[in-house]
């Protein structure tokens, strides 16, 4: 006994010593006195409480540790396997192939895609045929592609800045010409500021999650393009859908959201209306003044994608705000494409200073991607100058659109969902009268379910069959010297709803009215030829 205590003595002294050092260290920490007083007093009052608190702390630490290592392992669904069993399971498991090879039809369609040899423009030479063709497929609304002045400016920029910016905007990728283009866009539209993204498509997919977070409310059109669908998906916000380009349906949805919120007494969250100016899917156009009225009335913010209306409608191509004479400041986030509207590259979001500055830190595609090549930014700025100084371009674009409609309206095997001033004209195959085609009047009695991206009684189309016919039309037109394209889609459930197959004509001011008429007449003949065969 004695010997034991003597051998243990150094241990005791060591323990005592370390306790006292720890204690001293503890007292040296700032705020330790407060903790000590708290522990003392709580212990004095109620020793049980101390115990409870200690248990509580342990619990807190445990849950914290657990959330780190993911709950899966301890979840009730976890099955214990021995190492050998795991090895067997691993051996047994055969994955599906990474991707399915193309079907012959897909392959044929992919190889039928027109490829331009040399510069693109109103009458490019095609690799496919080796001949030139009228171009009603490429997006060159105001004919800026191939503009000699812009080329000259681009070369000057190249000789000063090189090609790539070699860095994201945060780290030495903010070049003065980017700031200039941002200023030019803001000036052009009449907003406080604008921010550039390096790809038009990724712009709105990044703008939406920069603002809309979990718990926020997005009210979106059922016919929005894929970029918006993906932005909405990634934001994880609560989504309510309204019928495509139907502002009455929008108002009903807004009311129902408000009712829901009142019922739940939910706190005020951010609320957004997301829609397009001219819809990529069908060329329909939003009634902007009415939309602004609704958003102001219900206190929503408006995210408006003007990818196809910026640089194509309005007296000088400023888009819907110019067309309807609505101040651009009324649109909280106005998204446009420099690549499409100005034939350069990238996209932008214009809005108030707050809106723009917020994206400079929170827009994923802005923060985590290199800024666009300076020469494209300068080309964009020059594009704006051209539009500003020569409104006649926009007038001749409209003239061509009008001429195209005048011809196509007389074709009775098709329908055109696009607005009469939209620079993209979609062509649907008119459904043969014997197939089921729900008329809109029958539907309007009962509103669609706002939670579902599909409208009530969603019409069904023979997608495969229509795609095939339209592809025939495309090839027939090409054989006659006009390049057109089907609106290409992701099929098989990758989009929220299957868009109706269509041919998408893109009008341009670079063709004269005569040439446009000639080209559209070829399209008309191809449509008639292929579609009349069908019956």
């Amino acid at each position: 006994m004695d010997s034991a205590s003597s051998t243990l003595e150094p241990v005791f002294t060591y323990v005592a010593h370390s306790i006292s050092t720890v204690e001293q260290a503890f007292y040296r920490l700032p705020g330790s006195a407060i903790i000590e007083r708290y522990v003392r007093s709580s212990h004095q009052n109620d020793p049980g409480r101390t115990l409870l608190e200690v248990i509580l702390i342990i619990l807190v630490i445990r849950t914290l540790m657990q959330s780190r290592t993911r709950a899966d392992r301890n979840g009730k669904n976890f099955i214990e396997f021995s190492e050998k069993e795991i090895d067997e399971l691993v051996d047994e498991w055969t994955p599906e192939p990474l991707t399915q090879p193309l079907t012959p039809a897909e392959e044929a369609e992919l190889s039928a895609v027109s490829i331009v040899a040399g510069p693109n423009g109103p009458k490019p030479k095609l690799v496919n045929t080796g001949k030139t063709a009228y171009n009603l497929a490429s997006l060159n609304f105001t004919g800026l592609a191939g503009n000699e002045h812009i080329k000259q400016k681009a070369i000057e920029t190249l000789r000063k800045y090189g090609v790539g910016s070699c860095g994201p905007a945060g780290f030495y990728g903010t070049v003065d010409v980017h700031l200039e283009l941002e200023r030019d866009i803001a000036d052009f539209l009449g907003t406080e500021e604008a921010i550039l993204y390096s790809q038009g498509f990724s712009t709105i997919s990044s703008v939406i999650p920069a603002f809309c977070k979990r718990g926020d409310i997005i009210v979106a059109d059922r016919g929005v393009t894929l970029a918006i669908q993906k932005g909405i998906q990634i934001s994880r916000s609560t989504v309510r859908w309204f019928d495509h380009n139907d502002l009455r349906s929008l108002e009903e949805v807004l009311q129902s959201v408000e009712k829901e919120r009142k019922k739940k007494r939910a706190p005020l969250t951010r609320r957004f209306i997301v829609t397009e100016g001219i819809f990529e899917r069908d060329g329909a156009m939003t009634d902007l003044p009415k939309l602004i009225e609704l958003k102001t009335k219900y206190k929503y913010r408006l995210i408006l994608d003007e990818t196809f209306s910026f640089g194509s409608v309005g007296r000088t191509g400023r888009g819907l705000t110019e067309l309807y004479n609505v101040p651009a400041e009324k649109v909280d986030m106005l998204i446009g494409s420099v690549a499409i509207g100005l034939c350069a590259g990238g996209g932008f979001c214009a809005g108030s200073k707050n809106v723009v500055e917020h994206q400079r830190i929170n827009g994923p595609a802005f923060v985590f991607s290199a800024s666009m090549p300076p020469l494209l930014a300068v080309s964009g700025s020059e594009g704006i100058n051209v539009l500003r100084s020569s409104p006649s371009i926009l007038a001749s674009l409209q003239e061509n659109i009008h001429a195209a409609h005048a011809i196509l309206d007389r074709v009775d095997c098709i329908t055109i969902p696009s607005h009469s001033i939209s620079p993209i004209i979609h062509i649907y195959i008119r459904a043969p009268s014997n197939t089921l085609h729900p008329s809109t009047a029958a539907v309007s009695t009962k509103p669609s379910n706002p939670v579902s991206p599909l409208p009530r009684d969603a019409p069904q189309w023979d997608i495969e069959g229509e795609e095939k016919l339209l592809q025939e039309v495309v090839e027939e037109a090409l054989a006659q010297g006009v390049m057109i394209t089907k609106a290409k889609r992701l099929r098989g459930g990758m989009e929220i709803s299957e868009a109706r197959p269509s041919i998408r004509l893109a009008m341009t001011s670079a063709l004269t009215k005569k040439e446009t008429e000639k080209a559209v007449n070829v399209v008309k003949a191809a449509l008639v030829k292929v579609l009349s065969k069908r019956r």
């Binding site: 510069p119 693109n120 780290f171 030495y172 700031l179 390096s198 790809q199 991607s369």
Partner: protein, 687 residues
């Protein structure tokens, strides 16, 4: 106080400037003399019979005309420090680049080859700093956070107008809640000086900063109108292709004249041109895959093509440090995601065993497929993926492998073909090779390469094919010109035919020309490309077509990477990452040191611009500065950075790495640079 420049710096600069030419005019005249001499010799003796010490540099070409406008334009009083090399060229040396964009360096010893040594360890050990650093870092954040909250509390009461945008207002919820934006307002704002600095000109070896000041604690930044040329060790310009002059820029100019700047649409809807086809074939050839596709933005390459590979019922296993674009794509795909510890194969294997045996959550049905996504080189850590380890696991666990080579393609490997090349592995063992052109190639956009069936499927199933604008012709041309200059073109002009017959050809790096590697890699890269891979109108300058300039860039980059990495290590700093990585992160820890470091580097006599990154891009305590070396830097530039770090590091107490006894002082590092670079990794610590 502490901001005052250490006095020792002056003596160093004095000494250096003594050997450099007195003025820009002197330098230019020396340059033009050398140029004239070179022209004379090349015209008098038709065959260039004198193999000089620097064959890769002696192309007859005029440089002075190109250089003087870029050189003298807009520079401040420091122009002759950065704009001119310390030693004027000799008669043999004719440089075809502008020194401010791509530094003149004729010393053949300052070259290295980036190649895996079978004995080297891939995972590097991260050194921990002393405890007092950790604790004081936490305390700094604590103070910052407390102060921030106090200021918010007081501000909201006494200065409500400046908080208006954070408060609900006439029925609108704030765009940004004060809680969400706390970090941005109260921590990042304090060091906003380090971010989004506007610049002008080429982001090459040097960069012209547009100076700005903030009178109100970074709420507004006001341009002063002056410009400062600074040494640029921050852009992702690994191979130095960010150039406004030279063969690539000439090719791009030609393409703008011919094609304009736009292709007007998406790839499947009338926005394809012949350059896309050519570029894709070239990229496939470059990376060694069957086929490839090109997308106009690197971020979008991940975010729009990953969903075409995986979906519901699939599992993505992602490295915890993967780039935001990968996360974006995975989230949009609807696949289930799990993470594994950064580059930790043991952790990955345990996870694989768990997920394969457990199957899908709840239903326990087997996964349709498992895709592992890693990066070749990590942009914040400089670490290299353990590719051999992954491939070993891949054999057993049958997953598909996606490697994002954004930072590694072009930058590493003896042929510049990324991680597979570095390890001497057949790239076809990787299912999906993804990369970007923003970095090494001085362009923009990204690619995906793999089997033809995969790529064709992605062409129609990825979001970009039908919807996103296609890549523009000038960018495509930059890619085609820079890539083919790395590969070399067969039957190109004189220099290349010499190479084909010659013995010590710089094209066949790794076969004897490098000293450290004795083992022959198993996979052989295809040699130079036949001219049919290039557009017919493209007349590649002879130095590009021969592949000489490309191989020079690769070797200069490898030298600079090794030198900066090991130099900083030997000086005693804590450095992350792999020595052949051009990304060199130096650990700073404290948030305040990030600003301080940035400012002290920028305020030097030779200003150096740096990228400092902290939370949330890195873990809270490991704030760091991230250097990105480039082939455009000369050894003197790296010396300059090392000297600057040495001085700043002493002032700021940053040397917590190598033990004092093993460190070298700065003069020794500079003197023994070549030895340091060529050393075996395991000898570095003890040398």
């Amino acid at each position: 106080m502490a901001l005052n420049r250490p006095s020792s710096s002056h003596s160093i600069f004095k000494k250096r400037s003594a050997q450099s030419p007195a003025s820009a005019a002197d330098y230019l005249s020396a340059l033009s003399q050398a140029d004239a001499r070179a022209r004379k010799t090349s015209s008098s003796s038709s065959s260039r019979s004198t193999p000089t010490a620097t064959p890769a540099l002696s192309f007859s070409s005029t440089t002075t005309g190109a250089s003087d406008d870029t050189l003298l334009e807009g520079d401040m009083d420091n122009s002759d420090r950065l704009s001119l090399p310390p030693v004027p060229p000799t008669s043999e040396q004719v440089f075809t680049t502008v020194h401010t964009e791509f530094g003149h360096c004729a010393n053949e010893a300052h070259r290295h080859t980036s190649q895996h040594d079978p004995n080297e360890k891939i995972r590097h050990v991260e050194r921990d700093p002393p405890y007092y650093i950790l604790i004081s870092t936490y305390i700094s954040y604590l103070i910052l956070i407390c102060l921030g909250h106090v200021r918010d509390f007081l501000g909201k009461r006494f200065h409500p107008s400046s908080y208006k945008h954070l408060m609900p207002r006439d029925g609108y919820a704030p765009l940004n809640s004060d809680f969400d934006s706390f970090y941005t307002r109260r921590l990042k704002k304090r060091i906003d000086e380090c971010f989004a600095q506007p610049v002008t000109g080429v982001a090459g070896r040097t960069i012209l900063l547009l100076d700005r000041i903030s009178p109100d604690y970074n709420h507004t930044q006001i341009p002063t109108g002056t410009r400062t040329r600074a040494l640029n060790i921050s852009s992702y310009n690994y191979l130095g292709f960010a150039q406004a002059r030279g063969g690539c820029a000439d090719a791009v100019e030609e393409s703008i004249k011919h094609y304009g700047v736009s292709t007007c649409g998406s790839r499947l809807e009338g926005g394809s041109c012949d350059l896309h086809t050519i570029g894709e074939a070239l990229v496939a050839k470059f990376v060694g895959a069957e086929d490839s596709l090109i997308s106009s933005m690197g971020f979008a390459t991940n975010s729009t093509y990953i969903p075409a590979m995986v979906g519901k019922g699939c599992l993505v296993i992602s490295d915890e440090l993967n780039h935001s674009s990968i996360r974006f794509g995975v989230r949009n795909s609807g696949a289930h995601v799990r993470m594994f510890k950064h580059n930790n194969m043991a952790n990955l294997e345990a996870l694989l065993r768990e997920v394969i045996s457990q199957g899908q959550p709840k239903s326990h049905r087997p996964w349709k497929k498992i895709l592992i996504i890693v990066e070749g080189m990590y942009s914040m850590e400089g670490t290299m993926v353990d590719l051999p380890g992954l491939l070993k696991l891949k054999k057993k666990y049958k997953f598909y492998l996606f490697v994002d080579e954004a930072h590694s393609i072009g930058a590493i490997g003896p042929h510049g073909r990324g991680v597979a090349d570095y390890f001497g592995i057949d790239p076809n063992e990787i299912d999906i090779l993804m990369g970007t052109f923003t970095k090494s190639f001085g362009a923009a956009g990204g690619y995906i390469a793999g089997k033809k069936a995969l790529i064709d499927r992605l062409r129609i199933k990825g979001y970009s094919g039908p919807y996103a604008e296609s890549m523009t012709p000038p960018v495509l041309t930059q890619i085609i010109a820079s890539m083919s200059s790395i590969m070399g073109v067969t039957g190109a002009d004189k220099p290349s035919s010499q190479i084909q017959n010659g013995h010590a050809s710089p094209l066949r790096i790794g076969n004897g020309s490098s000293s450290t590697i004795n083992e022959e890699p198993e996979y052989h890269h295809p040699g130079p490309i036949p001219p049919k891979y290039l557009p017919s109108w493209l007349n590649l300058a002879p130095e590009l077509a021969s592949g000489l300039e490309g191989s020079l860039r690769l070797r200069r980059l490898a030298f600079n990477s090794y030198y900066l990495h090991r130099g900083l290590h030997k000086l005693g700093f804590i450095i992350y990452g792999h020595p052949s990585s051009p990304i060199v992160p130096l650990l700073l820890f404290h948030p305040a040191k990030m600003l301080m470091f940035h400012r002290m580097m920028k305020d030097r006599e030779v200003p150096i611009v740096t990228v400092v990154v902290g939370y949330p891009a890195t873990p809270l305590i490991t704030g760091r500065v991230r250097f990105c070396v480039s082939a455009a830097h000369t050894k003197e530039d790296v010396d300059e950075v090392l000297r600057a770090c040495d001085e700043v590091g002493d002032v700021m107490d940053l040397k917590h790495g190598l033990g004092r006894g093993k460190r070298w002082d700065i003069e020794e590092v500079v003197k023994r640079a070549v030895e340091l670079v060529n050393m075996k990794q395991e000898d570095v610590d003890d040398a």
